[in-house]
Amino acid sequence: MSTDYPNDLRYTKEHEWARVDGKIITVGITKFAVESLGDITQVDLPKEGEELKKDAVFGTVESVKAVSDLFAPVSGKVVKVNDPLGDSPEYINEDCYDEGWMVQVEVKDVKDLDALMNAEQYQAYLKEQESH
């Protein structure tokens, strides 16, 4: 199951993942989120330079059936946006950890990263959710 939830990523309870590279993190949504949403038809993301606030909504994902909010895993400034998702939101369905990345954020306070789960913790969290 390690490929479903790569070991080098960190995870949130809202089913986002973060790839940490120094002060810059890359953010997307997890395989679990993608499978829950089904076919994704539209993504609304912030613009470069916008400030995100940890746990606040920073965008939305629309699938055929539903709309879901995206929650910022950390506070910080958006330094890059995966613009091709505007025309090709299906990249998220096809490859949520690579081509389907959403934004890169410059972390304001690296302590925010400590609150994120590792792959093992996230999978345990998913199991716990499932049993509820």
């Binding site: 089904g38 076919d39 038809t41 539209q42 609304d44 939305t60 629309e62 055929v64 059936k65 709309v67």
Partner: protein, 359 residues
């Protein structure tokens, strides 16, 4: 949750199962967009066994049915079917349904799954003195086979011709070894059949259709694609677009208000004479945004109506929807704003179905 006779089949196929009006139903198998495309381009099979089947039998069966439905039951011939509404005395829609006539003393009304108990109670209360009214929903299985290849597929495992059936007619045939009432009806905007079978034989027919269907490009289709298919064809969904707060006239269904002496007739006549307070319209999104059930429709900064259905139209390639608006805003070409979770997005009223099949 209640299960159809095919529940095990859906699980084995890896379908995602959801609670739909108390029924454990497949919402998708391969994915909504893929399934949608399959029905538009080849053929799809749907388990709709959760729908309700109520029989009316006896010398006064026709009278009983006419009392309950808005369309003109007298126009039905043996082997014929018609779409209709059933209304409260207020004109509010109890359900939308299809009436099938076996003969003058035997009618079948097929109703929405989530309304079976309500409808059956209402029918018995209002017309139970006129004839026998029997709820056969649990004993009846129903499959829909829809798409450009659907007719050839069903014909290929039928013991007699069914491809010559006209729209909204039905006939008995043996399909995949199962005695079936074969109806040329559907809910997708495509050609095809709906197949009524004894519930204990529905799985056998499902297997036969999937086997024979391989060379017709057949795939199982869930409720998710059923919803996008019907929305593109501008077919209303009870509980979304239709309910007891709205009349057939408001819902654009005046064409099924042709009967005489049905419950709600006076209220509907009065409403027609006085003018409609609102109308159900189709709209296409002109700005980025997906309309969803319950989103406000806004004009000049004020809420004027509400979205009843909305989604991407996978075949038409744009975001589409239905909603109730005042008659003054119902003209094709009218610009509306949809409040998509606080973000306003422009939409334009359009006439007719979003998708129409060729031929």
């Amino acid at each position: 949750m209640k299960q159809t006779p095919l529940y095990g089949r859906h699980q084995a196929l890896g379908a995602k199962i959801i609670d739909f009006g108390g029924w454990a139903m497949p919402v998708q198998y391969s994915g909504i967009l893929d399934e949608h495309k399959t029905v538009r381009q080849a053929a799809g099979i749907f388990d709709v066994s959760h729908m309700g089947e109520v029989w009316f039998r006896g010398p006064r069966a026709a009278e009983a049915v006419q009392k309950l439905v808005t369309n003109d039951v007298g126009k039905l011939v043996d082997g014929g079917a018609m779409y209709s509404c059933a209304c409260r005395p207020t004109g509010g829609i109890v359900d939308d349904l299809i009436v099938y006539r076996t003969d003058g003393q035997s009618y079948l009304i097929v109703v929405n799954a989530s309304n079976v108990d309500k409808d059956f109670g209402w029918f018995r209360e209002q017309a139970g003195a006129l004839c026998d009214i029997i709820n056969m929903s649990d004993e009846t299985g129903l499959l829909a086979v829809q798409g450009p290849n659907a007719v050839a597929l069903v014909q290929s495992i039928s013991d007699r011709p069914v491809e010559d059936l006209k729209s909204f007619t039905y006939r008995e045939a043996t399909i995949g070894g199962v005695k079936t009432q074969v109806a040329r009806t559907g809910y997708t905007g495509e050609d095809g059949f709906e197949l009524f079978t004894p519930a204990n034989e529905t799985a056998k027919q499902w297997d036969a259709l999937l086997d024979a269907g391989a060379k017709f490009g057949l795939k199982p289709i869930g409720l998710g694609a059923r919803d996008t298919l019907r929305l593109e064809a501008k077919l209303s969904l009870y509980g979304n677009d239709l309910d007891e707060e709205h009349t057939p006239h408001e819902a654009g269904l005046s064409w099924v208000v042709k009967g005489k002496g049905f419950i709600g007739e006076a209220a509907l006549q009065k409403q027609k004479a006085e003018g409609l307070p609102r109308k159900l319209v189709g709209f296409v999104m002109k700005e980025r945004g997906t309309a969803r059930h319950g989103y406000p429709i806004v004009d000049g900064g004020k809420p004027v109506g509400v979205v009843t259905s909305g989604s991407l139209g996978p075949t038409v390639g744009v975001n589409i929807g239905l909603g109730y608006v005042p008659p003054a805003l119902a003209q094709p070409g009218t610009r509306l704003q949809i409040d998509c979770r606080g973000k306003s997005a422009a939409a334009e009223v359009v006439q007719g179905a979003f998708y129409k099949r060729h031929s």
